[in-house]
Amino acid sequence: MSDQKISVAANPAVPATAAPRHRVDPLAIVVRFQSLIGLVLVAIGGVIFSPRRHGEILFLNPDNIANIVRAVSETGIIAIGMTFVIITAGIDLSVGAVLGLSSVVTASMMISGGFGLIPTILAVLVMGIVFGVVQGTISSRFRLEPFIVTLAGLQAARGLALIVSGNQYINISYGDGPGLAPPVFAVLGERLFDNTVPVATIVFIIFAAIATLLLNTTRFGRYVYAVGGNDRAARISGVPVSMVRISVYAITGFASALAGIVHAGQFNFGSANDGMGYELTAIAAVVIGGTSLFGGAGSMVGTVAGTIMLGALANILQLNNITPATQLLATAAIIVLAAVLQSLVRRREGLGR
């Protein structure tokens, strides 16, 4: 939220002396930028502990960095959507399942449905939005916990994916004609600019940029913070609370569908099991990014940094041939640390729990 600072002194009507500098709690700064700091620390650790080959630090090898950002692009896209929901003090557990459904629908529309690229992508994105709108509306209209509604949504999406796929993996083959997908779709699995930058990552970055602008510079973004900060106060101030609630679930639905399309394009197949467990990775990235599960506070930059940090951590551990068990334990420690830091700051600010 650093870009939301408001300067009183900017207005000539109020004398500059009216805004004396207050001592800023250093811990608060650490928390505000915790995921960026964490990312830098992991990067430094990566450099220090990186295996070397002929003096070259493998961790910093451009290919390796591309590997890291490619591997996190799907969960990253989802985490970006999840950030909106969590800022409103909600949660969306259906994201991984909607990714699976979307990848299955993408594959089957192009392979067995014979649809073209654009209609397929549009249909899948709309499907994701509709899925989110339905969840948001049910939760808002019947005042149900989003946890419950999206838990049901998770089951529903997996079930639909199994039906659509007929319990089979759908392989995507390319070419012209029936049963083949347009070859241009395979670009999602490629790397641009002299075979360096993964296309999946470009999608992730563009989506992140749009989401950052949406959250920080628009009226809607402000409403999102307001609803999470105190929905009753927001309602009294004239904020369309239900509309905002429904919209954030539409955003996660869209993000999951986008991730599903990227998944299908990267791996040339769709399976009902795709994206299993992604919801938890995404929530972890959001929390590490400094967004509070209590709502009202959080940042998109933090989420992106948190996502990349988890990817970099997994990478450096694998480069050093350290077991996945250690990786899980390290992630656990980071999540707890992030949460403890936030809690400490809240207490220092006298805001209690």
């Binding site: 319990n167 990267q266 791996f267 040339n268």
Partner: protein
């Protein structure tokens, strides 16, 4: 990448053409596959495993680790794809970054891992695929495939039933794996083929139990109700065989059970045969020793070409050899 070939079809074609060990393609260049090869060099072998959570895959990891330890210059790194194609792809990419000297891989799914395998080949890293294949042909799109033949393993079990267990005929039943999966279909068909050697044997029931013991127990209990005279049960993996044994005990029947996979350890099939609970189990070979052997050829012996497809034979584990193998 025009179409997706199921690996088994290629394999079976190759089998029809030749023997258990066969050569599908020979590289022409006289240059060694890995230029940095040396008799006493230090080499890193990366193994990208599909999903450590499956007991069979853990068994593969153990065998590979043991085999690699025998070679002084080899360091084996295992990455767990955790049943997620995205994770496995990124792990292959990481191995490429590390410039491992040989890449071993059991892809979780064929098509999704194909591009990653291609990147490794493009980076000059020989790729040996274990048990499961990516899209394309061994010897061309990847260096080699080492694996067992599900059809043939099950056929052996069928023949064993026809000649040893039920030479005078009788009723038999089959527990199938997850219905849509390739190995499930191949093992079912293989067993039926093998049993044909004895026309007095009837297969009276076949049901899917999705590879898991609890479903196997339920399914086999129901079979025994319907067909009390079942003499032999063929289970398409060890876990289902274990479930079937519980059902047989529950019904008070003495049924001869055959497992598949032949996993070691106290809960594995070898132990069950040694204890006399099952009649036999047929190992699904991991190909671990063969993979390390092939890596030695490439890295230590500077081989210019290797066999593109290596089919490893199954071992029948029966009362004759189980005790000895279990004690190992």
């Amino acid at each position: 990448m025009r179409t997706t070939l199921r690996g088994s079809r290629v394999l079976r074609a190759a089998l029809l053409a030749g023997a258990g060990l066969c050569i599908a393609g020979v590289a022409q260049a006289a240059e060694p596959l890995v230029k940095a090869c040396a008799k006493d060099g230090q080499f890193v072998i990366g193994f990208s495993q599909a999903n450590n959570a499956e007991p069979y895959r853990q068994h593969v990891n153990d065998e590979l680790t043991a085999a690699a330890k025998e070679v002084p210059g080899f360091t084996l790194q295992i990455a767990d794809g955790a049943g997620n194609v995205n994770t496995q792809t990124s792990q292959v990419d990481n191995f490429i970054t590390q410039k491992v000297d040989v890449l071993l891989i059991s892809p979780f799914e064929a098509a999704p891992l194909t591009p990653a395998v291609k990147r490794a080949m493009d980076a000059g890293i020989p790729v040996i695929e274990l048990d499961r294949k990516t899209v394309g042909d061994p010897g061309k799109d990847y260096t080699a495939f080492i694996g067992g033949d599900n059809f043939k393993i099950a056929e052996e079990a069928g023949k064993f039933t026809a000649t040893k267990l039920l030479p005078d005929g009788g009723e038999a039943a089959v527990l199938e794996g997850l219905p849509s999966s390739t190995p499930a279909v191949e093992r079912l068909n293989g067993f039926k083929e093998g049993v044909k050697a004895n026309s007095k044997i009837q297969i009276v029931a076949e049901q899917a139990a999705d590879w898991v013991p609890d479903k196997a127990q339920t399914a086999f209990a129901a079979m025994l109700q319907a067909h009390p005279d079942i003499k032999v049960l063929y289970a398409s993996n060890d876990m289902m065989a274990a479930g079937a044994l519980l059902a047989a005990k529950g019904a008070g029947k003495d049924v001869k059970i055959i497992g598949t996979d032949g996993l070691p350890g106290p809960a594995g099939g070898i132990e069950a045969v040694a204890k006399g609970d099952w009649a036999a189990t047929f190992t699904y070979p991991t190909g671990a020793k063969e993979a390390i052997e092939m890596s030695k050829k490439i890295l230590l012996d500077c081989a210019t070409s290797v066999d593109a497809t290596v089919t490893v034979d199954t071992t029948a584990i029966t009362s004759e050899n189980a005790k000895q193998l279990a004690g190992k």
